[in-house]
């Protein structure tokens, strides 16, 4: 479950300068001989016995109650995707850096990759699958369609869940404000103009 995606501009630049070597390879090359000295540490990761105790966790997801026996290591994101088969919520970085995994947890937008499901017994969770009502898309979903708020669509569920939070918090007054308060959601396709327009439009209609 390790991810080596670069998330800062300098990393992107480094990749370009170095003919497509990964950020990790470059960090290690520049870090040099010293890097190898640490190898034994990496191998000495203790072989801990697997967790015997699983915990009972109740989650209400999109209005539906679930009672689950969970290994405490599992993130809310993994439980949504792998246990509940709600794969609309995406795993981008798994490090809190991209926003693809954004859901509403007790009505607040959070990144589901950086929280343990076991810590949310009794919580209400809303995902992209829970937005449609009576066969109608949520107004923000409609606005994303109308304003071309996506290209490949991978970031879109996170953008929409985050947009709902942004509007509810009252941070969708101007395009500048939307850009700032939506900056926790990265779009590799650069669909930002459409995303901002969609959030602005839905905020006006809300």
């Amino acid at each position: 479950m390790k991810s080596e995606k670069p998330f800062s501009d300098d990393a992107v630049q480094i990749e370009q300068n170095c003919g497509g070597l990964s950020r990790r390879a470059i960090l290690l090359t520049v870090g040099g001989v010293a890097a190898l000295a640490a190898a034994p540490t990496a191998q000495s990761i203790s072989e801990r016995p697997p967790t015997a105790s699983t915990g009972r966790v109740r989650l209400v997801v999109n209005g539906k109650p679930h009672e689950l026996d969970l290994d405490p290591r599992r993130s809310l994101l993994d439980v949504l995707r792998e246990t509940l088969d709600l794969t609309g919520t995406k795993k981008g970085c798994n490090q809190g850096a991209c926003g693809a995994c954004t859901v509403l947890l007790n009505d607040r937008r959070v990144v589901s990759c950086l929280t343990l499901a076991a810590m949310h017994d009794g919580a209400q969770i809303r995902t992209i699958e829970g937005l449609e009502a009576n066969g109608e898309l949520h107004p923000l979903q409609t606005a994303f369609v109308e304003h071309d708020g996506l290209q490949c669509g991978f970031c879109t569920p996170g953008q929409i869940m985050s947009g709902i939070g942004c509007i509810a918090e009252g941070h969708a007054g101007t395009p500048d404000e939307i850009r700032f308060w939506m900056s926790g959601n990265i779009c590799r396709c650069g669909a930002y103009p459409g995303i901002v327009a969609a959030v602005a439009d839905a905020a006006k209609r809300a």
Binding site: L28, G31, A38, T102, L114
Partner: protein
């Protein structure tokens, strides 16, 4: 992620007792879970402190008291914080993302760990992660690293924004441990790396942060936080500055200045503060004073630019204190 157990704390005393016997507190989890997944952090037992009554934000006299479990977003949006300590709100909003600010606690923020890329990489040498293994950053990619407070063993910056503000405003923190309660300046929480960079703070085993107290001061409202970074938002600081001025009769009576992104801990600049006192708050005065900021700096191969960027950031932050946030 290595296996671990987790239990919910039911009382402050219970949480402290659990931590004293080797369990680790978890609050928002945004630092801890991330590093546990990378196996940089390997606690075997966690105690979830989120149910403890430590998320209050209140005004006591002229002090602002923030519970350790108050979320960054809630502190930043609190009307009393915005009115009395806009600098606190500004620095919080400049940190992380809206989602993370909904999750992350103030106590956890102060104890967040280095963002040095080698720290996260198990196959790189890093004294902070594996004491004695060396420091890959000193001869590696170190553009983001520190110029103050470094040692030959570690050069990582302290990444928190709010910590810079709390140091500038001389905030204190209240903690409780197995041997009772104590209170000390936030500045004293952070250790210099020296030859023990794996020891980052001065909390004793089992100590729980209860609150952070920001004293009311004549500076509070003429105060700004400026964060310079590789993109406009959602990025750690290359250089940041928390500046506060008390101006009366056209002269600076007192000044407070701390900077981030340059020190192995939040870095207070007493010499610059002194050089401002008694002067008129104008650009020339700011520029002269800001030149003193880089005294004693030890730049690395990749971060000489900070010697130029730091004084400029300070000048701009001082100018901004005359403007509304």
């Amino acid at each position: 992620m290595l296996p671990f157990t987790i239990e919910k704390a039911t009382s402050i005393q219970g949480a402290i007792a659990a931590a004293s016997s080797g369990r680790r507190f978890i609050a928002g989890g945004t630092t801890l879970i991330d590093l546990m997944r990378e196996e940089v952090e390997r606690p075997e037992h966690l105690v979830d402190i989120n149910t403890l009554p430590l998320s209050d934000i209140r005004i006591e006299g002229s002090d602002l008291v923030i519970g350790a479990l108050a979320r960054m977003a809630d502190v930043a949006a609190h009307p009393d914080v915005q009115r009395l300590h806009p600098l606190v709100a500004e620095s919080l909003i400049e940190g992380a993302s809206p989602q993370l600010r909904n999750m992350a606690s103030i106590g956890g923020n102060l104890l967040q760990r280095a963002r040095c890329p080698y720290f996260r990489m198990l196959d790189a040498s890093c004294n902070k992660r594996s004491p004695g293994s060396g420091c890959a950053a000193i001869n590696g990619l170190n553009a983001g690293h520190a110029i103050f407070g470094t040692s030959n063993h570690c050069v990582a910056t302290h990444p928190s924004d709010i910590a810079v503000v709390l140091v500038a405003l001389e905030a204190t923190m209240q903690v409780r441990g197995p041997r009772g309660e104590r209170s000390f300046p936030v500045e004293e929480l952070f250790r210099l790396p020296g030859d023990t960079p794996h020891l980052e703070h001065t909390l004793l085993p089992g100590e729980l942060i209860l609150t952070v107290r920001v004293p009311g001061s004549p500076y509070s409202r003429r105060a700004r936080y400026l964060k310079v970074r590789d993109r406009a938002s959602y990025e750690f600081a290359l250089v940041s500055a928390a500046a506060a001025l008390d101006v009366g009769g056209g002269v600076i009576r007192q000044a407070r200045l701390a900077v981030g992104g340059v020190g192995t801990r939040p870095w207070r600049l007493g010499a610059v503060e002194k050089a401002l006192i008694g002067k008129t708050p104008d650009r020339k005065v700011f520029e002269t004073a800001a030149r003193l900021a880089i005294e004693g700096a030890r730049p690395l191969s990749g971060n000489h630019y900070k010697l130029e960027l730091l004084p400029r950031t300070i000048v701009r932050a001082l100018e901004m204190t005359g403007e509304a946030a």
